[in-house]
Amino acid sequence: MEYLIGIQGQDFVLVAADTIAANSIIQMKHDHDKMFKLSEKILMLCVGEAGDTVQFAEYIQKNVQLYKMRNGYELSPAAAANFTRKNLADYLRSRTPYHVNLLLAGYDEQAGPALYYMDYMSALAKAPFAAHGYGAFLTLSILDRYYKPDLTRDEAVELLKMCLEELKQRFILSLPSFNVRLIDKDGIKDLEKLPITA
């Protein structure tokens, strides 16, 4: 039902998530934000079981901020991703595992942009593009075909729009709106919500 997508460019990462919060057949909220800001240049997109998503995401968010308070500098995206993975793995074989699927996107001064794919089994992979949800089945091959490592910002947005068009055309569930954000050396920027309403 829920959909996340991330596309990494040369010096930015573009991420988008749908904005529906549903409960069985009812849409309870149309403007739900599934992105959690871990730091000035790291965003975590989180979908999965109700309750687990917000609980786990806020736990990671607060711990990343605590690290900054204690040590005076922020975690890099790679470190944050591995920290998140470790926590997910620790709870995996407990009696209360978190069933969450994540995308972690960030910009590091030294290493550049980074996009990490993590699933509920706590598998972690750094990838140039990634998606979660049923929508991923429909959009991953579009990304395979048209992605280039040296995408400009506009080209990445066009690629994203292509993916969302495909969902609108072929996915049986309606996902009417998406939050889109861009992370680069200047931080996290909100882009126009898609699809563009008149």
Binding site: M28, A50, F56, S94, R95, T96
Partner: protein
């Protein structure tokens, strides 16, 4: 009062209340006087002082290091070991929405249990404190218990921290209190409708961990029917009588279609001065009036 001194509250009454509990007061069905605060017996059950300015000059509480998500206490197994002796009550229609005049909460009054109507005059909207009501859905016993626990915890928070909890904070408190029971048979789906220092506030809390903030929520087996009526006519800038009529109509239509909802409709209105019960209207004669082509006042 000693407690007022501890909490550094002024001695003047916060609400413009000068009525005694047994003063005869007429409640108009529509419109109504939002300056007086009335609860059972004429007073709000737990009078809290709501400072209208945000700055109270108190220090923030210290940062406490977080511990990881704790394991549920007493090792509660994922499935209940003992079968419940009878099916717990689940069916209901409750709704709540924010609008320019505050927050409205409405619910039906049928408490059903395994195909019987266990109580035709249940109370599904429960006041938590002077400025917060909660609608209950799911298992009625669980909801009532957790609402009482929430009242206690809100009061303790206010006494300890000298600032009342916001509705958002109350929702988080309830969600955190319910989280150890995730995966068990506990079922509480509540909307917290209140007015705090940030204005009118509406939060939905479900025992599976969902916690959402919004303008309009309907919960329960009759909620799809209520949602459809609400979505057609809801506007933020409705007048107060329009809001009352919309809430009653939505519950009425849901009780008509849903077998597990019925009885009467309870209507509560929360404003800056607190919550007020607007009334309880029997829905059965409404159906016959409307069927006969008549207009029903207040619907």
């Amino acid at each position: 009062m000693a407690l007022q001194d501890i909490c550094r509250q002024p001695h003047t009454p916060a609400f413009p209340l000068s009525r005694k509990w047994n003063d005869p007061i007429s409640l108009a069905l529509d419109g109504g006087d939002t300056n007086t605060v009335l609860g059972r017996g004429g007073f709000a059950t737990l009078p809290f002082y709501m400072p209208l300015t945000a700055n109270t000059g108190f220090k923030k509480p210290p940062l406490r290091p977080r511990t990881p998500h704790p394991a549920p206490p007493n090792q509660i197994p994922k499935r209940a070991a003992v079968a419940v002796p009878f099916e717990l009550a689940h069916g209901t229609t409750t709704l709540s929405f924010k609008f320019q005049g505050g927050v409205i909460a409405a619910a039906d009054t049928r408490s059903s249990c395994a195909g019987y109507v266990e109580c035709p005059t249940a109370e599904k909207v429960i006041p938590i404190h002077s400025h917060l009501v909660g609608t209950t859905s799911g298992t009625s016993a669980d909801c009532m218990l957790w609402k009482r626990i929430l009242s206690r915890e809100c009061r303790l928070y206010q006494l300890r921290n000298k600032v009342p909890l916001t509705v958002k904070g109350t929702a988080k408190l309830l969600s955190a209190a319910l989280s150890p029971f995730k995966g068990t048979e506990l079922c509480v789906a509540a909307t917290l409708c209140g007015w705090d220092r940030t204005g009118p506030s509406l939060h939905y809390v479900y025992s599976d961990g969902t916690r959402l903030e919004g303008q309009l929520f309907s919960v329960g087996s009759g909620s799809p029917y209520a949602y459809s009526v609400l979505d057609r006519e809801y506007r933020f800038d409705m007048s107060v009588p329009e809001a009352y009529a919309l809430a009653r109509n939505a519950v009425y239509h849901a009780t008509h279609r849903d077998a597990y909802s019925g009885g009467c409709v309870d209507l509560y209105h929360v404003t800056e001065c607190g919550w007020r019960k607007i009334g309880r209207d029997n829905l059965l004669p409404v159906y016959y009036e409307k069927k006969g082509g008549g207009e029903v006042r207040g619907f």
